[in-house]
C-alpha cells in the first residue's frame, strides 16, 4: 500500500520509526526514497529517531560515560539517607 506525505508525517509524529512493524517501515521507506516533496525532511526525522534509538541502546549497555557524576554533597547526603533507611 502506498502512503501519502500526510500519512508518513502522522505516523512519524505518533510512533518511533524503529519500533514500527517492518511492513509499515518498508512502505514508508519507499515513499521517502521517491518523494521529492517530503523525502528529505522525513529522512532527517528518521535519522534523528535512529540516533535516539541507538543512544538508548548504548545507554542500556552503560557504555556512554559523559564526565558527569553525582556531586560530593549529594553523594554524602544519599549515603547518610541510605544508612538511616536500611
Amino acid at each position: 500500500m502506498i502512503m501519502t506525505c500526510k500519512q508518513v508525517a502522522k505516523a512519524l509524529a505518533e510512533n518511533r520509526y524503529y519500533e514500527m512493524p517492518w511492513n509499515r517501515r518498508i512502505t514508508m521507506f519507499i515513499h521517502i526514497r521517491i518523494c521529492a516533496v517530503c523525502g528529505r525532511y522525513h529522512q532527517q526525522v528518521i535519522d534523528m529517531q535512529k540516533g535516539i534509538h541507538d543512544y538508548l541502546e548504548h545507554e542500556d549497555a552503560g557504555d556512554i560515560t559523559p564526565t558527569l557524576q553525582l556531586s560530593d554533597e549529594a553523594r554524602q547526603r544519599i549515603a547518610e539517607k541510605l544508612k538511616k533507611e536500611k
Binding site: A13, E14, G51, Y55, G62, T65, P66, Q69, R75
Partner: protein
C-alpha cells in the same frame, strides 16, 4: 551467592549512583532534580527490596523505579511552566502541516553523515550533551516522546497543548539537537564520511 546478597543497598550508591544520575540528568536537565530523583529511587528501592525478584540485574530494576520518578517530576514541572506557542502558527503555516503533512521548505542537509557518526563511540557523549541542553517545554516534550516513549495523547494532556503544538515542540527540539550536533561533532580525521 545470590544476587540479593551481592547487591546490598549500601553498595547501590557506589555501583549505580553515577549511572542513574546520568540517566536522570539527560531527561530532567536539572542537577538538583536529577540528584533528588536518584535519592528517591534508592529509598523506594529499599522499601520495595523484598519484592525484587532477581530476574533483572539490580541496576535495571532501580532504573525502572527511576523512570517513574522522572516521569512524575516532568508531570509536576509541566504544570508549572506555560508552553509558549506564539510562534507555533508561523511554523505550522510554513510547513503546511495541517493540510498535507509536508514541509514547504526543505531543511538544510546534515553537515556530517549521521549513519557514520552513529558508529563512533565518541559521538554519543556529544549526543548526550546536546540532548541535555534542550530547553524547558521543548526538552520536556522531547524527553516524554523520544526518550520515555509516552503517547501523543498523554503528553498533550500533561503539557496542556494540542497535537499540532506538540509537533512544533518536537520539530524545534530536533532542529536544535541537529544544530548542536553539527556545531560539536567533528568527523575524526582519516575516516570517510
Amino acid at each position: 551467592m545470590n544476587d540479593k546478597l551481592l547487591h546490598d543497598p549500601e553498595s547501590w550508591l557506589d555501583e549505580h549512583g553515577d549511572y542513574l544520575f546520568r540517566y536522570a540528568y539527560v531527561r530532567l536537565r536539572n542537577r538538583a532534580a536529577a540528584e533528588d530523583a536518584v535519592q528517591e529511587t534508592f529509598l523506594a528501592g529499599i522499601k520495595a527490596y523484598d519484592r525484587y525478584d532477581e530476574k533483572t540485574p539490580v541496576r535495571y530494576w532501580l532504573r525502572g523505579i527511576l523512570h517513574h520518578k522522572v516521569v512524575d517530576y516532568i508531570r509536576k514541572a509541566a504544570r508549572e511552566i506555560a508552553v509558549d506557542d506564539s510562534e507555533d502558527h508561523e511554523i505550522l503555516d510554513r510547513f503546511k502541516y495541517k493540510a498535507f503533512g509536508i514541509p514547504s521548505q526543505q531543511p538544510a542537509p546534515w553537515k556530517f553523515d549521521p549513519k557514520h557518526a552513529y558508529e563512533q563511540k565518541e559521538f554519543w557523549e556529544i549526543f548526550y550533551r546536546c540532548m541535555a541542553g534542550l530547553k524547558e517545554s521543548m526538552g520536556l516534550a522531547f524527553t516524554m516522546r523520544e526518550l520515555e516513549g509516552l503517547s501523543t495523547e498523554e503528553i498533550c494532556k500533561e503539557l496542556r497543548i494540542k497535537p499540532n503544538n506538540l509537533w512544533v515542540l518536537l520539530h524545534r527540539a530536533r532542529a536544535q539537537l541537529k544544530e548542536c550536533l553539527e556545531a560539536h561533532w567533528i568527523t575524526p580525521e582519516g575516516t570517510e564520511q
